[in-house]
């Protein structure tokens, strides 16, 4: 029974996801803000993915359409540029968008083309309030519920941190997520929900701005702790030089303390005068 039930449920979830992903036609700006803006800007620099300003001059329309629909299949087809792009952005795969039609993608390109002429306009969320690390942690673990009753992050995600309950393994490990996609990237992902599963879970129960700021602050803290714990090299070098100079200092102090010791043979002056055959 179980072996039949599981694919059925999966198919149902997929179907619902596909239905919800339907967008109104030719609304480039809307679609961009909903789908792309979580990871991309137009002329405001890199986020999770590259800055898309003037992307229409760098690539053909067909290439962009196929990449948007399934970036991984473009990479796997041996496209060197796509591959280098994938590697340059920490190997974070761009989610596939099979539901977008060619027209819709063209609409996005049109929007990008239009925006590229007046760069610098921020497409990300407005400035967030300062985050509280502790509250962020409580939210992440689920000790404090999200205002809109969204599932706690650690239902699917794990963060390695001492004193923290291990999270789920369904989503990506978020211990060093800030290193991978930066703080704004995280904020973009949580707010914009570019990944289908995330969208599924939170579209109807979005996080408030304060909650996003708190969770992000917590993830940054977790990231910083983890990075500093892994990067022992700097401290090790300091320990080495500190240790050596400390030892030299100690030996010097010892030699001062015990300066009255017998330092050499009593025959020293005699031996010094003697002629050596070598």
């Amino acid at each position: 029974m179980k072996s039949i039930q599981f694919p059925a449920i999966a198919m149902a979830i997929l179907f619902i996801a596909l239905c919800n992903n339907a967008f109104p036609q030719n609304q480039g700006e809307t679609i961009f803000k909903q789908v792309c803006a979580a990871c991309h800007t137009i002329g405001s620099g890199k986020l999770v993915g590259p800055d898309l300003a003037n992307v229409h001059t760098r690539h053909t329309k067909e290439w962009i359409i196929s990449f948007v629909k399934s970036s991984q299949s473009v990479i796997k087809s041996g496209d060197k540029y796509a591959d280098s792009l994938f590697k340059a952005f920490n190997q974070v795969p761009m989610p596939d968008n099979p539901t977008l039609t060619n027209d819709q993608i063209e609409g996005i390109i049109a929007y990008i083309t239009e925006k590229s002429s007046s760069p610098g306009t921020s497409t990300t969320k407005a400035d967030l309030p300062p985050g509280d690390v502790h509250r962020g942690q409580e939210l992440f673990v689920g000790n404090i519920r999200f205002a809109n009753h969204g599932a706690a992050c650690n239902s699917c995600h794990n963060v390695d941190m001492s004193g923290l309950v291990s999270g789920g393994a369904l989503g990506k490990d978020l211990t060093q997520v800030v290193s991978r996609i930066s703080v704004t990237g995280v904020q973009g992902v949580v707010a914009g929900l570019p990944f289908p599963q995330m969208k599924q879970a939170y579209e109807s129960k979005p996080l408030t701005d304060q909650e996003i700021a708190d969770v992000t602050a917590f993830l940054k803290e977790a990231n910083d702790l983890s990075v500093s714990a892994q990067a022992g090299n700097d401290i090790g070098e300091k320990m080495l030089f500190g240790g050596i100079s400390g030892a030299v200092l100690l030996l010097f102090l010892f030699s001062l303390f015990w300066i009255k010791r017998k330092q050499r043979t009593v025959n020293y002056t005699l031996f010094k005068r003697q002629i050596s055959s070598t």
Partner: protein, 516 residues
């Protein structure tokens, strides 16, 4: 009164000719082993000189012996608290260069070298590393080199002498030296025993020989530093310290120790002394000037009935008491008061005593006319044309004593903890014996003059004859009065011999693994 017996020694320095036979005899028996090559349990030094190891008497360098401060006597270099807290810190230890690096020569090269244009030579090689070395020093490197800047003038015993006095000592034709043979003193208050953290060193109960237990020794080497006479040596090969054992296997067999047995000048005497162990502590705590008197005070009269009773009470064998009554050491040290301990100020109460040397210091060099005597020589004999005489005769009683070639201070530093009168007293006695015997054998000195001399020296004619006999004529049995060892009693104190009676025969230390 806690009477103990001690096998004790007297070395008569006037008789030592500095031949090193004693050193060789000792080396051949005991220290001709790997790791022990540099050790000389017996060595002979030229004095004034720096000795072996170099400057061993200078406790500023080696920190050996005891020191009295605030009425308490403590080890100079270590001690109970200081020893424990500094147990890994032993900086005053002599290094091999303070002794010398032992060497041999590659003699086989002389006969096994292939034919060539050059004469083969035997290169010196180190007995420690096995590699060719430049010989820098030897065990008696300053032999007969007294007066030289490096050796004679660096003698630590010159420390209280003024520059003028030192200059006089080392002038040509006035310069004199004598030999100082040294072995372990088997002290009553041994610093080596006190310093050992492992408790490996002990003074044998029955005869006072100080020994290092080779199974307990843990190579702390505190004894090497602590012994002010530097007579404990570290064997770098076995990792144990070693020292003179007074040839106890020979003594137990009734033989004199090898160094004494082989002594060419017959300078060495060995015999039992009885002493009061209860008074050691008070003797050690005496002031410098009373140290020697305190030391000699605790040596007891073996003829005194009370002493004999007390000795029997504390388990001294009758044969040992009998031996003590015939001890030549007792005569020299207590009856005639001729012998002194070496460096009493180290406070170890050494039980080896020295008769101070008189010969090198009393003689004068006179201008004489030798031409008449030379004419009487056979023409083929060597003709002595130098007109001087090494003269030891005297017309004045103590004339030569006041014109000695050595400052008294030097010998006092060496043998009487700085007390010059004590040295002068011994010299007078030695001189009086000579004058007395000269009257007897030559007859050119009057009876009155001789009596006056003897009285002034505190001797009687019988005593003088006794000194003369033991100094000049003594036979083997007179010089070495060795008590029977009674090892069986010592063993029975530790083990029940009945346990092994009826066991496997002789020669087996453990049960054999065959037979029934």
């Amino acid at each position: 009164m806690d009477v103990r017996s001690q096998i004790s020694m007297v070395f008569h320095l006037d008789k030592c000719i500095g031949c090193h036979t004693c050193s060789i005899a000792c080396k051949n028996i005991w220290t001709d082993r790997k790791g022990a090559e540099y050790m000389w349990w017996n060595n002979v030094e030229t004095k004034p000189g720096t000795g072996y190891p170099t400057k061993w008497e200078d406790q500023e360098v080696y920190r050996g012996g005891w020191k009295k401060s605030n009425g308490k006597v403590n080890l100079l270099g270590t001690g109970k608290r200081r020893g424990l807290t500094n147990i890994f810190y032993n900086p005053n230890l002599p290094v091999i260069d303070d002794y010398y690096e032992p060497f041999t020569y590659k003699y086989l090269d002389l006969i096994e070298s292939p034919e060539g244009d050059d004469q083969p030579t035997a290169r010196p090689v180190s007995l420690i590393t096995g590699k060719p070395i430049d010989i820098k020093m030897g065990p008696n490197w300053d032999d007969d080199l007294s007066g030289t800047p490096d050796f004679g003038r660096n003698d630590p015993n010159l420390k209280n002498l003024s520059a003028e006095e030192q200059e006089v000592m080392f002038q040509l034709e006035r310069m004199a030296f004598f030999y100082l043979p040294r072995i372990c003193n088997h002290c009553l208050n041994p610093a080596c025993v006190a310093s050992c953290p492992s408790g490996a060193i002990y003074k044998r109960g029955e005869d006072g020989v100080v020994l290092i237990n080779q199974e307990v020794c843990r190579a702390w080497r505190m004894c090497v530093t602590a012994c002010p006479y530097k007579k404990s040596y570290y064997n770098w090969y076995t990792g144990k310290s070693e020292k003179c054992i007074l040839c106890f296997p020979r003594i137990e067999a009734g033989l004199a120790p090898a160094c004494m047995h082989s002594c060419v000048g017959r300078i060495r005497y060995l015999g039992v002394l009885l002493y009061d162990a209860d008074r050691i502590e008070s003797a050690v705590h005496k002031d410098d000037e009373d140290l020697i008197d305190g030391h000699l005070d605790i040596i007891l009269d073996p003829f005194d009935e009370k002493v004999i009773q007390a000795a029997k009470m504390s388990g001294v064998a009758d044969s040992t008491i009998h031996s003590a009554q015939y001890s030549p050491v007792y005569k020299y040290v207590k009856q005639w008061k001729l012998a002194l301990p070496l460096h009493a100020e180290f406070r170890t109460l050494p039980m080896l005593f020295y008769v101070p040397p008189l010969l090198p210091v009393m003689a004068t060099v006179k201008q004489v006319d030798n031409t008449e005597g030379g004419k009487m020589m056979n023409p083929i004999a060597k003709y002595w044309d130098d007109n001087w005489l090494y003269d030891t005769s005297t017309t004045e009683l103590w004339g030569t004593l006041d014109q000695v070639r050595f400052p008294l201070k030097y010998l006092a530093n060496l043998l009487s903890a700085g007390n010059e009168e004590m040295i002068k007293d011994k010299w007078k006695k030695l001189m009086a014996v000579r004058i007395h015997r000269r009257r007897v054998t030559v007859g050119d000195i009057s009876q009155e003059k001789t009596d006056e001399v003897l009285r002034e020296a505190g001797l009687t004619a019988e005593m003088a004859d006794g000194i003369f006999y033991l100094t000049a004529l003594a036979k083997f049995e007179d010089r070495f009065v060795i008590p029977p060892a009674h090892r069986e009693q010592a063993i029975e104190m530790l083990d029940f011999t009945g346990d092994t009676k009826g066991e496997v025969g002789f020669g087996f230390k453990s049960k054999v693994k065959r037979g029934l």
